[in-house]
C-alpha cells in the first residue's frame, strides 16, 4: 500500500508517495538519490545507514519512510555547506580515518550527533557513541582521534566566532 509523506531532508521540503514497507534508508537512496547513506546489514547492526531524525541519530534501515512523515532528516550530504566540508569530514581526511569508506558516512553522522550533545567528548564518550558503527578496515583508532580533533576544531572556531562577535559588538558601540 502507498502513502504520501511530507518531510524535510537536508533543509529541503520533500513530498513523495512511498510503499509502507519501504525503509527511510531505501527512500533516501532510491527516492531522493542521496546515496551517501549506505546499506550494510539492513537490520540495525552496522550503523552504515545512520541519519539524524529530528536531530537524533537513528539507523535508517530500522525506520519506515512513513514514520518520517512530518519530520526532519539530515543525511551526510546535509553536513557539508556549499561545498565546504564539515569539521568532522576534514578531520576524517587528515587523520586518514577512511580506508574503503563504506562505514564513513555513518560514522560521521553518529559523531555529528555526539558533538551536538557533548562538545568536549573523552575518548570513552566517543567510543560509546560510535559503538553502533562497525568498521572492518581501520581499527577505529584514527576514527576516534578524528572525532576528538574535530571537536577541538569546532570549539576553537566557536571561541573565535564569539570573540569576533564581541569585537563586532564593541565596534557598534558609539564612541
Amino acid at each position: 500500500m502507498k502513502k504520501t509523506i511530507t518531510l524535510e531532508v537536508n533543509g529541503v521540503a520533500e513530498t513523495a508517495e512511498v510503499e509502507v514497507g519501504q525503509t527511510l534508508l531505501r527512500f533516501l537512496r532510491d527516492g531522493l538519490d542521496l546515496t551517501g547513506t549506505k546499506e550494510g546489514c539492513n537490520e540495525g547492526e552496522c550503523g552504515s545507514c545512520m541519519v539524524l531524525l529530528d536531530g537524533r541519530p537513528v539507523n535508517s534501515c530500522l525506520v519506515l519512510a512513513v514514520e518520517a512523515d512530518g519530520r526532519t532528516v539530515t543525511t551526510v550530504e546535509g553536513l557539508s555547506k556549499e561545498g565546504v566540508l564539515h569539521p568532522l569530514q576534514k578531520a576524517f581526511l587528515s587523520q586518514a580515518a577512511v580506508q574503503c569508506g563504506f562505514c564513513t558516512p555513518g560514522m560521521v553522522v553518529s559523531a555529528a550527533a555526539l558533538l551536538r550533545e557533548n562538545p568536549t567528548p573523552t575518548e570513552d564518550d566517543v567510543r560509546k557513541a560510535l559503538a553502533g558503527n562497525l568498521c572492518r578496515c581501520t581499527g577505529y583508532k584514527q576514527i576516534v582521534d578524528a572525532v576528538r580533533d574535530a571537536a577541538a576544531a569546532m570549539r576553537s572556531a566557536a571561541e573565535a566566532g564569539s570573540d569576533a562577535g564581541k569585537a563586532a559588538e564593541r565596534e557598534e558601540v558609539p564612541a
Binding site: 500500500m1 545512520m50 541519530p57
Partner: protein, 279 residues
C-alpha cells in the same frame, strides 16, 4: 515486506485499541528495532502496522503521588537513561537501559517494547523486575495494571493478550533509592545481547531491602527472592550463600554466546561481587 502492508498512526490510545481490534492481523509499532527485523526475516507478518508514536500521552515521563514514576510506552530508552528523576530515584534502571544495543538504537527502542518482546536477555526487564514495576495495559475491555513479575512466561511470551496495548511502565515510590550494580558479560561491549546479566541492589533503611535479578540465564528474566531474603536476614556477609541460591535458581542454556556451565558459574561470581560491593 508484503506489498499490501498498511500503516495507521492514530493519535489516541482508544483509537489505537479499536483499530487493532478491527484488524486481527495488525501489530503495534513502537521503535521498530525488533519488529522490523522480525518482519524482514518472516518471523512476523502483520498486515497492518499501528504506529503508537503519534500518541502524545505515550511520550510522557510523569511523577506519581507516591514518589514513583510512570514512563510512557513511546519514550525512547535514550531519554529514560538520561532523565534526571530516573537517575535520582532509579539509577539501576538507567544503568540497565544504557546497556541495550548502542546509542542510536536507543533513540528508537523503548522500555515498553523491550518488555513486550520478552527476551530472556532483556536488560531493562531485570531492572523492572527488581524494582517491582507495574505495566498499565489498555484493551477494548478497559484499562488494567499488571505486575511485571506476572508478565513474562517464556522466550518471546508474555501474559498480554493479542490487542493489549502497554501504555506505560510504572515504578513504585517504594522502590526509589535502590542502588547497586548491573554486571553484564557480552562478547563485545556494544550491540550484543547479554551472555549473563546480574543486578544486585540494596535500599538502605532501618531494615535494608535487597534485590537480586538475573538476565539471560533462564527462559525469562529472573528475580531470586530466596537470595534477597537471605541477605535481608544476614546482610552482605552472606554474599557466598546468596550467590549459591542464585546459581540454584537459574536454568541457563548453552548457545553461541556461552555454555550453560559458564553462565551458571558467572552467576555465582557476579552475584557475590555485587553483594560484596554493597557490604
Amino acid at each position: 515486506m508484503p506489498v499490501d502492508l498498511d500503516y495507521l498512526a492514530p493519535s489516541d490510545v482508544e483509537d489505537a485499541v479499536a483499530l487493532r481490534a478491527s484488524r486481527p492481523s495488525a501489530a503495534f509499532l513502537l521503535g521498530g528495532t525488533d519488529l522490523l527485523p522480525q518482519m524482514r526475516s518472516g518471523r512476523r507478518s502483520p498486515e497492518t502496522l499501528i504506529d503508537l508514536k503519534r500518541i502524545a500521552e505515550l511520550h510522557e515521563i510523569r511523577e506519581n503521588a507516591d514518589g514513583g514514576l510512570s514512563i510512557g510506552a513511546a519514550v525512547p530508552l535514550a531519554d529514560v537513561e538520561t532523565h534526571p528523576l530516573v537517575l535520582a530515584r532509579y539509577p539501576l534502571l538507567a544503568e540497565c537501559a544504557k546497556t541495550v544495543g548502542a546509542w542510536p538504537l536507543r533513540q528508537r527502542a523503548t522500555l515498553a517494547g523491550n518488555v513486550c518482546n520478552a527476551s530472556p536477555a532483556a536488560d531493562t526487564a531485570v531492572a523492572l523486575l527488581a524494582l517491582d514495576a507495574v505495566v498499565n495495559v489498555a484493551s477494548t475491555t478497559g484499562r488494567l495494571a499488571m505486575a511485571i513479575s506476572e508478565l513474562f512466561l517464556g522466550p518471546g511470551q508474555t501474559a498480554l493478550m493479542p490487542g493489549d496495548l502497554v501504555t506505560d511502565v510504572v515504578l513504585p515510590g517504594s522502590a526509589a533509592g535502590v542502588r547497586g550494580s548491573y554486571q553484564r558479560l557480552s562478547r563485545r561491549k556494544g550491540m550484543d545481547l547479554a551472555t549473563v546479566g546480574v543486578l544486585v541492589g540494596k535500599r538502605d533503611g532501618a531494615r535494608p531491602s535487597w534485590r537480586v535479578a538475573l538476565a539471560a540465564v533462564a527462559p525469562t528474566p529472573l528475580r531470586v527472592r530466596a537470595a534477597e531474603e537471605l541477605l535481608e536476614a544476614k546482610g552482605a556477609a552472606a554474599a557466598r550463600e546468596a550467590a549459591e541460591l542464585a546459581v540454584a535458581a537459574c536454568r541457563p542454556i548453552t548457545d553461541q554466546r556461552g555454555s550453560a556451565e559458564y553462565r551458571r558459574e558467572m552467576v555465582g561470581v557476579l552475584v557475590r561481587r555485587g553483594v560484596e560491593s554493597l557490604g
